[in-house]
Amino acid sequence: MAQIILRKELMADDLNQSMSSDEQLVSDTLGGDKAAFGTIVERYWNMVVGLAINKIGEPAEAEDIAQESFIKAYSQLYSLQQPSRFAGWLSKIAMQQCSNTIRRRIRCKSALGCKAAGFEEAEAKAAETVNDRLTAGQRYFIRERVGRLPEKFQKLILMRFVGGLSAVQIAKQLGKRPGTVRVWLHRSYKILRKDLAPILEEVK
């Protein structure tokens, strides 16, 4: 909890700074400074992976998608019209990459008859490598419940809780009004709190 609070404090402090620094980092990257793009990757890695897991379901594949998304963002950085909305743009690239992966999976299944790694297999792998307080079942349950939210709420929750962006930052990234994002955020939070009540009791 101390970690969360510290993260939040830092985030609240950098509320406006991080936005302008995104623009600066994009500008530096276009100027040939690859390290600046490294900072961008570090900043949005969790958000992109979270969005990809939500679509794909497999963390390993989601990481591949995240990497591809960053590579694509780097090579197409020149086409970014509003550097202050980098995260919103990046999330769209990630969604596109997820759609490509899903299409590839379908083609693979129907044409070649190959079998994509199942949930159990992926979770078993996860259980071997991740030592967290959530069980595989609990993780699956949370993902499934988040996946039941309306599309716009899903993105919001992931950008907020996984990506660590504030409501104001999300509003800027998605081109929405801060008031709207706040309302959506509280609404989705309420739904999740109700849906995840059993898990939250266990985790406590």
Binding site: I4, K8, D13, R43, G50, Y78
Partner: protein, 238 residues
Amino acid sequence: MNCEKYKKLIEKYIEGAISYEQVAELKTHTETCENCKKEFKQCTVLEDSVREAFSSWMSAEEGKVSVMARLSAMPKPAVRRAQYNLGWLAGRRASIAAGILLAIGLTLGFTIGRAGIEKPIGAKVPMRVTGLEGTVLVKHEGLDAWQVLEADSDIHLGDTFHSATRSGFVLEMEDKSTIEVNQNSMLVLKFYNGETQFFLRESTSAIFHSNSTRPGGGIRNRIHSHGRVDPDNCRFAM
């Protein structure tokens, strides 16, 4: 205990818009208020759980290293947007330049059209041949051969004429001025405004000069011509 203030702080926490001082204040309050403690705890647990469920096996730092390793083999991103902008600007500049040139051209064209321009000697000013009598020869400018002048033939300023004795013709210009070579080898120049000038055969050399002014104002045609009048015939160049 007034918990409204702390509920607002919890809302700000959910929105990610809480400050250091506010977190410290909230924590102090939750030590003594069970309701707010429960609410805040639920908030943090939910956030932690969602983050964990969607977390990467790789840390952000590892992800960065992995991406940067792949990027190291790639060239720096193209600055095509800047090029596009420059192209757009160049196109815009070209359009502006074209617009300026067009405006200048139109202005000049309009001015020239209104005021007329001094046509140099030899310019292709069309003239209509009428009242042709006898034999008149014409030598078109730039040619050596003499041809018999025929009515409605193609005559321009700069052509040379040879009017034999007892022959005559009239050249009508576009501004209604006329040049007449009568049978007495007399050059008669009539302007559209009614003014008439005579050049008699006794003259060894005659120069007629037309400053024909159009009714609308301005000089339409300024014609410099030389006429050489011989005793028996008339030969002159326009």
